[in-house]
Point group: C2
Chain length 375, copies 2
């Protein structure tokens, strides 16, 4: 575990700015990870991701296990080599995808049996197997198999939490690679006692990092914020804290304010494929006729390749003609928006101006007027 | 016309290596132009095209006239500014696309009336209008409206040729912008007398460049080569010669051997979207199961971004999962193959080894074995 470390550089309230050391470089936190579901962050090259400031990305174990298969990835030197990405990678356990497919999986105390969405073939995922697959994929950070319940269902939340705990213990026992950090995941829905119990259990495993699962799955913002407040109390301060599946600029800021360090979301790349450019606050739908003659970049203050070289009018043309370059440029831009935001957050924490930054984002998010919004 | 020039650096047989001076930089010929139909070379950024060695690209007047409209492009500073490409651009006249749609156009001596493939609206293209649209688009090189007949139909070939001549004269009269070069187009099907008459007529207009149209549209290779031999006789040696719609490495080499300088084709980007990687000779279909564990690059000698960073196994994975990055990487590779080929051709001409290079390509093109082909 020498290749890992977590060094807090500064605090501002409960927000922290830190360096997460990995075998593939230092990751400054708070950090946003774009999602490379199938070992590619959709529509972008690794070179474009580097330029956008990405230092850590997420890949999906479920998808890579099914195709091309973790053994093939291992044969080709592991995920970094396979996808041409020499910075850090985190893989999820595969559980989230499996549990999302209610109709084609059956869970028991030992693991989960599911059918492939590709060909209907039957597969079995256990904590040990999720670790073994992730060891073959070879990411820097891997996740213990967990079960994510509907956040308001107390009985199911307890059951899923208890399984998650047993599975985390088994995952920790099964994990062998010393050049990978295994993170445990806290569950427990929106229930304080469960969340506190879960944080205590997962923390007790002494893993190099801890994640908060089961959020951003339908609960309200106040509910999410309450859970994060309990997490800040319950999780060790000297280890990175990863809030899974979040999100928007405002959600990231509020989670950082509650001591969270790591974030992932498909939002920037998914929005890009649906004609939407993220702004620091708000969005632009590029199909809007108001952009047809708009010579301005998406955001004049954005340093990304798309904003340096192309007008909204050109981007709208690419959207209208369904050209691939449109998805590429919006993906680069949207990822850059979130990476730039985390740079800003880290600087604000280091200079004790984080509460000002937070205040700015707590004002109501403006609905941009396509013809006048300057980002 | 001071911003244009054509300076022959070396000859080897009838092949020539030259510099075509344009307002957007020098273009070394023989040159291959990738096609940016809708003001984007599909699936690539301008940055990737620069890196692939592209110095001149083609955009389609028909498509840009319909969407976003030449007036919008002009308002946004012209095509270079619109698409973020600061090297040279050539636009076609729009005629080729219009004449391809037999069912929805009517041609007369004055021009052609057609229906938009997008919304069925009726439009009229005349030589003067094709020039006006291209002046608004603002490419470095623009083309006179021509009519492309079925290559074996003598009566239609004569009629189309005569219209093409009249339209070229009208185009030359209509053309005003001195920072654009207007090229005329020779027609005449596969008929020697018509081709010779056409070359004489078009040459007589004294335009800064001449193109050969009506080839690569169904005629045999010997027929194409015969036409090119007549063109080499009939067209002025001191002006660039553009063979429209060609093509493959072998076709380019044979045309260079007959004194042609400029080439365009959708092949590299179209193949890329259909899982095919071009090799210097032959192709690889990346969906082949034989590539699933192949750690080699597409071509170990290729300098492109895809070959420097990714294995055939990864590219196959991207094809299988229909990821956009697959089309991007294969497009970069395929364009690089043709750009690299023209570098090689120019060097061969300059060192009087062109006939050796040609000989190599005249050998039968190998059918690659997916498991053993090393390109």
């Amino acid at each position: 575990m020498d290749s890992f470390g977590f060094r807090i550089l500064a605090r501002d309230g409960r927000a922290r700015s830190a360096i997460l050391q990995t075998p593939h470089g230092e990751v400054a936190t708070p950090v946003f990870m774009p999602v490379g579901t199938q070992a590619t962050v959709k529509a972008t090259t690794p070179e474009q991701l580097r330029e956008a400031g990405v230092s850590l990305l997420l890949a999906n174990t479920y998808h890579l296990y099914l195709r091309p298969g973790d053994e093939i990835v291992a044969e080709l030197g592991g995920l970094h080599s396979f996808m041409g990405w020499d910075r850090a990678i985190l893989t999820d356990s595969g559980g989230y995808q499996v549990f999302s497919m209610r109709s084609i999986r059956e869970v028991d105390g030992d693991g989960v049996t599911f059918k492939s969405h590709l060909d209907g073939s039957t597969h079995r995922l256990t904590p040990e197997k999720a670790v073994a697959i992730q060891e073959r994929l070879g990411a820097d950070i891997i996740m213990a198999l967990d079960e994510c319940a509907a956040p308001n269902d107390r009985a199911y939340s307890r059951l899923a939490m208890e399984r998650t705990h047993a599975w985390a213990t088994r995952s920790a026992r099964a994990h062998r690679r010393t050049d990978q950090a295994l993170f445990g995941i806290v569950q427990g829905g929106i229930f304080q006692d469960l969340r506190e119990e879960s944080a205590q259990y997962i923390s007790g495993l002494g893993l190099p990092g801890n994640a908060v699962g089961g959020l951003s799955v339908g609960e309200s913002k106040p509910e999410m914020h309450a859970v994060l407040d309990w997490m800040d109390q319950g999780l060790p301060v000297d280890r990175p804290r990863y809030l899974m599946g979040v999100g928007t600029p405002a959600d990231i800021i509020e989670a950082v304010a509650r001591g969270m360090d790591m974030f992932d979301c498909v939002l920037p790349t998914r929005l890009a494929r649906h004609h939407a450019a993220m702004l620091r606050r708000g969005r632009l739908n590029l199909l809007g006729a108001g952009f047809a003659r708009d010579p301005r970049p998406l955001d004049p203050s954005c340093p990304c390749y798309a904003c340096r070289h192309f007008s909204r009018a050109y981007l709208r043309h690419l959207m209208q003609t369904k050209e691939i370059l449109g998805a590429t440029l919006l993906s680069i831009h949207n990822i850059t928006v979130l990476e730039t935001l985390t740079v800003e957050i880290r600087e604000a924490i280091q200079t004790e101006r984080f509460s000002e930054l937070r205040e700015e984002f707590r004002k109501e998010t403006p609905v941009p007027d396509p013809s006048s919004c300057t980002g």
